[in-house]
Amino acid sequence: MSGVALDPKTAPVFPMAAKTAMADKQMRKNVLHATDVIQAKRARVVGEMPDWQQLREAGRQIRQHTMENLDFYLEEFERNCTRAGGVVHWARDAEEARRIVVELVKASGSDEVIKVKSMTTEEIQLNRALEAVGIHAVETDLAELIIQLGEDRPSHIVVPALHKNRQEIREIFQRKMNLPELGDRPQDLADAARVFLREKFLRVKTGVSGANFLIAETGGVCIVESEGNGRMCLTLPETLITIAGIDKVLPRFEDLEVMLQLLPRSATGERMNPYNSVWTGVDAADGPRVFHVVLMDNARTEILADEEARQTLNCIRCAACQNACPVYRQTGGHAYGSVYAGPIGAILTPQLQEMHYAQSLPYASSLCGACYEVCPVKINIPEVLIHLRNKVVKQNTAGVAGFFDVEATAMKAMAAIFRSERRFRAAQRLGRVAESPLVGKDGWIGWLPGMLGGWTQVRDLQEMPKETFRDWWEKRGKNGN
């Protein structure tokens, strides 16, 4: 498990991965505990806002409006950022984004970079690309540091090491920071990280970040964080490289008044997170002298093109849906095989793969709607899940592929059987004979062979009755009662 990046192209299907994850009792305990705490905090600070629903509606409309005018706002951002001394780059896909960043880091003359936590860089596996050319990336967010030192993978959008408890974190720090005496109080662990990273903050000349928001009106960038590691990476290096999905743009500075109310309360259950930084281009007397922004598509325009799924792009990455999801809370994040786990991951990941991979994720949900209820920008995740299930089925039953599709063939056979009384009776008889070796002593079937196994993986099936209703009805008629 360790060291292998989460890649939807090679990840096992969700039901299999979930089964493995469910066997890890400690991980499940950690995830349940952390998501319980975070949900309670969120509920408290959301509850004190009399206008929470109005804020959500404004948030939804701002995001929807942005997507409808995305070309205009990206060009406006580019113009204003450039005017303020930033350099804007465009990347069609992950490969192009990695290439641009690697070249920029090389040009900065540094063989080391300090990084602010960024799911976008996780999405494109940037660290591996940097390491491949001899550039060491140092993660500076506490949770990302735990993941990096533990050679682990992120399991949550906001708190990537949520699946680890303090004893496990202590063990990693003791080993990797060479601190055999380290205690396991959270304060001890945070202090160790402070000392470990401070030297790097003061020395490394190149920083890499993601972005929470790009502001079209000013060309500014906003990053929301807690520890101050973000501020360190944004202000101390000589060169700063920011990578952002094209969906991260906001029309105006004023729109932050909505987002900065919705995001902290939804993400960490705080009225405001400790630090929000907003900066515009380059200021000769304050912060990096060289500033690059890489605007990355990487299939976001595919999502934009699907009108029913477009709202996926409205996401502001608060992870409230993960904390609320009864499926995520049981399996944790790794089972989703993607850095975007939970309900938002179940709709975002397959679409970022242009529906070629992660096809099992839209099914990784009971459609209970808890995700929709907590979403600060009102993304109707259940609606998109159903839409994507439909897409998966259509895609797999279309054309030649459909001819060989077992489920589609089975459905066609079922249709033929239901159309004829003779065939229906024969099928029922056959079914009773065929099932007999599978029925347990208790009359339940816990395992079905081959393709049918998917059904019994998560539920038991009752044995068919010895006598069908039809047979019983006919017998009754003959007996005259």
Partner: protein
């Protein structure tokens, strides 16, 4: 730069994909009109009397483990001496343009004339003013202006003493953005309590990389 933008194939391709995806080009005019139509029925202005707003700010700051003192403008220097004395800090950095009457004697104030990060790391603390404070969220907003200085100055030292004038306190987040609109392009930092993390079992731990100690003096 302009020609480079036009000829960048990635840029043209992404913009082409976006326009194909949503069926057309968006102009400044359509975007502006549609933006004006966004429904904003959330609360923009607070309704509390001034005194309650100040109490709310004090309460919210203390909730983040910041310490707060409320004094008249003329008493700021005395309050600074008290706060720094209690923290055991003798020497702090100050940005250019900080109100001179706020500085008590008996302490050392090091003027930031472009100190390096290492030099800042060696100083115990920093004292600044603030652009404004938001009561509802317990937030102090700093900008790169006189009396507040470079972002790094309030980041590297371990102790931050911030003086906020009562007239600069607003109740809500939208009120703050209303005031910040004109200076939106300045480097701006929203500070809500000392540096913290909840990455270990979702327990809020005070003090990671930013200042571990924050004191606020409300003046006026």
């Amino acid at each position: 730069m302009a020609t480079e933008m036009v000829t960048d194939p990635a840029r043209s391709e992404i913009l082409r994909r976006i326009r194909a995806a949503k069926g057309g080009v968006s102009s400044a005019e359509t975007a502006r009109t549609a933006w004006d139509g966004i429904e904003r029925s959330y609360l923009r202005n607070g309704s509390r009397p001034v005194e309650e707003v100040l109490e709310l700010l004090e309460d919210r700051l203390r909730d983040y483990d910041a310490r707060v003192m409320r004094v008249r403008e003329a008493e700021v220097a005395t309050a600074v001496a008290k706060m720094m004395g209690e923290r055991g800090v003798r020497r702090v950095v100050v940005p250019k343009g900080l109100e001179a009457t706020w500085l008590p004697s008996g302490f050392e104030f090091v003027l930031d004339d472009g100190l390096t990060a290492l030099e800042l790391d060696a100083v115990g603390g920093v004292m600044t003013g603030a652009t404004l404070a938001i009561a509802e969220t317990g937030t102090v907003v700093l900008q790169n202006t006189a009396g507040q200085g470079r972002r790094v100055v309030t980041l590297v030292p371990d102790y931050h003493l911030c003086v906020v004038r009562v007239k600069d306190v607003v109740e809500t987040v939208p009120e703050a953005f209303g005031r910040l609109e004109a200076t939106a392009e300045l480097a701006t930092t929203f500070v809500s309590g000392p540096s913290a993390t909840a990455d270990i079992e979702m327990t809020r731990i005070k003090g990671v990389h930013g200042p571990r100690f924050l004191d606020v003096i409300l003046a006026g």
